[in-house]
Amino acid sequence: MFTCSACSSFVPAKQSACPACRAQFTRSTTTKVVSGVLALAGGSVFAMTLTACYGSINEPIYDDTGASGDTSACTDDDADGYCTPDDCDDTNAAIFTGAPDMAGDGIDSDCGGTDGPDA
């Protein structure tokens, strides 16, 4: 998905115009959502927060270890949606537990302890 710079709607990759405002776009006029996702919401373009009817939401400040209301228990400085300790590098939004990890780049993107996908 891309983001239309004219109206902020999502633009599927196969579309040559924004479905919402019909603005024609080229790569120079769009913001690539992929990079946005990498910077803000996680390395995978398919990342999402599961939800269901009758469910409750996950507040980013909430820590499942039971420190309810203890906001100091979870920090997310790079705003990638992952709190320490699940984020082994909280200065880089592309690095967190479960992130895509390309072997050979020398970076443990998925916090598995090694460069490349965990076995």
């Binding site: 709607s9 946005g36 927060t49 469910g55 909430y62």
Partner: protein, 424 residues
């Protein structure tokens, strides 16, 4: 693993497993809400015993469940309620709960917390008058506030969830203020769908073009929520792909998440109190139960039942129809929320509740209007049928104004009226 990351994952490259489960512990309830999809009130004829339920917990843990929402009816009316919370916790599954809150006093809240309950979402569907009307009980609203207080006092996180429809939409912004003032910092909002008792009340339901008003208002509240410390997230049937999509779907400010299609049977599972296993708690029982946990291992149901696999390998050409098949977002959205679409037309794949769809019609000077045709059957998680009319956007329309109490009246009697489940 942090609370956020337990439910955040790559939905394309992760093997399907029931990571997030919603479990109706009993259908017995101390409310008879006008919009209840399960027509809750009395227990089902056969419900899982505590011993059976503890077995379910073990099975789910083995399958990789990370979080489980106990619902009903009212989950606390099941005799094994606290034991099941303890078992979930001991198996490494985060227990949470959704409740009407009527029976939650400080004593019960403390017991829940001691057993391992982490957070509780109280269903609050408007300000006092409208909430009590929807819940069919005078004083219900005050009860929810007392429940919120008890939950917080006991040391748990108090949240809220709201079903939006024509009856309560006028209370949306006022309810935000009330929730904020009562310590709620997490709020899930979704649309009332034509399921169960809501299917008997078609006038209560939104028309598709109402989303042109509703979605921007929810988005505005989400912006306020980021400033006020209130996290608002949409349920799966609130959307899709309007200009506010990224704002609504991302739990962090400035993110770019969007709807990724129905996750029923992929990473979500629903269990009814008699052990019926579905891909999602709201899916219509008649069409989507893959088996019963009382007689079949849940893993076998999950892996082998076609009723749970429908969302795992769909195509635009085979599984979508109507507007959704031609939509530019078809491949990603795949018709939005499956149970909502099925509730209108008896099959998924064409969902009139869509912001992009409504806006696209408006751009062409048109709107879609839903007309109720067949009545629902009168059983839990049933549905009626509707037809769509496409008409000029400014065509005359006679309907009761939003907020009018008469919207809560039964407008289409179910085929089988069970007095114990009929509600108000």
């Amino acid at each position: 693993m942090s609370g956020l990351s337990r439910r955040r994952l790559d939905v394309v490259n992760t093997t399907a497993h029931p990571r997030y489960v919603v479990w109706e512990l009993t259908l017995r309830c101390d409310h008879a809400c006008t919009h209840c999809g399960s027509r809750a009130g009395v227990a089902r004829e056969t419900e899982l015993s505590t011993e059976q339920a503890l077995g379910v917990v073990a099975e789910l843990a083995a399958m990789g469940t990370q979080e489980l929402v106990l619902i009903g009816g009212e989950a606390y009316l099941h005799e094994g309620f606290l034991s099941i919370i303890e078992a979930l916790r001991s198996h490494g599954i985060t227990p949470v709960m959704t409740t009407g809150g009527r029976g939650i006093d400080l004593s019960l809240a403390q017991q829940m917390h001691a057993a391992g309950m982490q957070r509780v979402s109280v269903s609050i569907d408007g300000l006092a008058a409208i909430h009590d009307r929807m819940r069919a009980r005078k004083g219900s609203f005050e009860g929810t506030l007392q429940a919120l207080a008890a939950i917080r006092q006991a040391g748990m996180v108090a949240q809220a969830n709201t079903n939006l429809n024509r009856l309560n939409i006028g209370d949306l912004e006022g309810l935000y203020e009330v929730l904020l003032a009562n310590g709620v910092r997490g709020w899930q909002v979704q649309l009332t769908s034509p399921l169960g008792r809501a299917a008997d009340r078609p006038d209560m339901l939104f028309q598709p073009f109402d989303l042109l008003d509703v979605l921007p208002r929810v988005a505005a509240l989400k912006e306020r929520g980021f400033r006020d410390g209130m996290m608002i997230m949409p349920g799966n049937n609130l959307g899709y792909f309007g200009p506010e999509e990224a704002l609504l779907r991302t739990p962090v400010k400035g993110g770019s998440d969007h709807f990724q299609g129905c996750q029923a049977g992929r990473f979500v599972m629903g269990i009814e109190s008699d052990g019926a296993v579905k891909g999602c708690p709201s899916l219509q029982t008649q069409h989507y139960v893959g088996g019963y946990a009382s007689t079949t291992p849940i893993a076998d149901i999950w892996n082998d039942a076609s009723e749970l696999a429908f969302a795992r390998a769909r195509t635009v050409e085979e599984d979508l129809w109507g507007f959704c098949q031609q939509c530019p977002y078809a491949e990603t959205c795949m018709g939005g929320c499956s149970f909502t679409a099925h509730g209108f037309f008896g099959r998924a794949g064409n969902n009139p509740y869509c912001h992009f769809r409504a806006a696209d019609h408006q751009r062409r000077g048109l709107r879609e209007r839903l007309i109720a045709t067949d009545a629902a059957s009168g059983r839990p998680f049933d549905h009626g049928l509707f037809e769509i009319v496409v008409e000029p956007f400014d065509a005359p329309l006679e309907r009761a104004p939003a907020g009018e109490p008469s919207l809560a009246k039964i407008g289409r009697k179910p085929k089988r009226m069970d007095p114990e489940r009929a509600g108000a």
